[in-house]
Symmetry: C2
Subunit: 207 residues, 2 copies
DNA sequence: TAGATTGTTAATCGATTAACAATC
DNA sequence: TAGATTGTTAATCGATTAACAATC
């Protein structure tokens, strides 16, 4: 879709730009230069200009960047102008927390279904959605166009779940199980909460 | 503490090594070479050896690495041989999910207190722990030696919470609010779940 | 126009990979 | 000992930063 491939480093800075620009907009800031952004965000000004120029020339020489239009471009680039349909597989602690996450709807993510394998959980209601049997997931995916599958199962069911989701046409996986799931046809974000906690205890121990 | 500084890239690979070595141990594998690890994990064999050698020579020429002892070294390096005392601030969806996270105790993390600002939440019990008023947090921190503070408050209270925690002597912050908190005296891991979701929709849109 | 700041090319820096001598 | 594989130095690659001409 895009000419040159954009590096992972750049991609992971995009949400930070997006968040910061949102804040500037809320504060009523109209224009900003790469130098000012640099001072506020701690990134190098050259890097900021390079990053934006991966996607096009959004600035104006001698002026800087218009906050509104830059924010609009970023939301386009990040794909935040669409509405995404989500299913959550695994209604344990994290699955439930995500199902109830209030910011989803306002950001364009709609939870269409929640699935679990455990008899005692199936049929319960979470945030107005009834937990279905994971055995019915393939059929559900046939009848509903789902964009993102959230994997909140235990480690041992994660890859299997990923397979079911992708076979059902789900093209993006958000994985919270402590394992790297793989899929040929889908984009994947492995969250690895425990890795982040390990890094924290590394820093705590070695500082 | 350590001679040369270890790069962020290396630090973030440590948990992946740790997890993989754990799996090898469970499968009963006794020894492994950097070449085998490379094939299994997808990292370059040179990189693997370089990474381990940031911390010392754990291998043996002509033999490879002993899984048990390498795993032991990694858990030392990551600081997973200690027990850490945790407080969770914010008993919303994510705070509750973390409070109930069953794997914490077996990994050496003990939730010592949960705090919230909302009247209707204070006094409730989560996983056997009574939610306390966040106003009592400073006193609690004086009376209990807490290692890690988990920030699960809304965005606007996150930095304030970080300040209270660090002033109370907490030396590590695990932040789930969608903002980068800052602290001079503490180590910080900003989790940014929504950033990870943004990256996923970026990939979905641009692929 | 003059001043400011971008877009872009070139230089630097650091991380990854390759190569190989050391050695178990 | 011979073979294998590490530990480590050197080469490569990519990402970050600096510089500056283009231009609003």
């Amino acid at each position: 879709m895009r000419e040159r491939t954009v590096s992972e480093a750049v991609i992971h800075r995009l949400p930070k730009y997006y968040r910061h620009l949102q804040e500037l907009q809320e504060r009523g800031v109209e224009r900003i230069s790469s130098g000012e952004l640099s001072a506020e965000m701690g990134f190098n000004a050259s890097q900021i200009r390079q990053d934006f120029n991966c996607f096009g020339g959004f600035g104006q020489q001698g002026y800087g960047y218009r906050v509104n239009s830059l924010l609009h471009e970023l939301s386009q680039i990040l794909g935040l102008t669409h509405v995404y349909n989500i299913v959550i597989v695994g209604a344990g602690n994290i699955g439930k927390a995500l199902a109830r996450y209030a910011a989803f709807p306002q950001e364009g993510y709609e939870v269409k279904g929640i699935f679990d394998i455990r008899e005692e959980v199936i049929g319960r209601e979470i945030n107005g959605i009834t937990v279905q049997n994971v055995a019915d997931l393939p059929e559900f995916l046939q009848q509903n166009q789902i964009d993102i599958g959230v994997i909140c199962t235990p480690k041992d069911n994660a890859q299997k779940t990923a397979d079911v989701l992708t076979q059902g046409g789900v093209r993006a996986l958000w994985n919270f199980a402590p394992i790297d799931v793989e899929a040929e046809k889908a984009c994947i974000e492995n969250v690895h909460l425990s890795d982040s906690l390990y890094v924290l205890s590394y820093r705590l121990t070695n500082s």
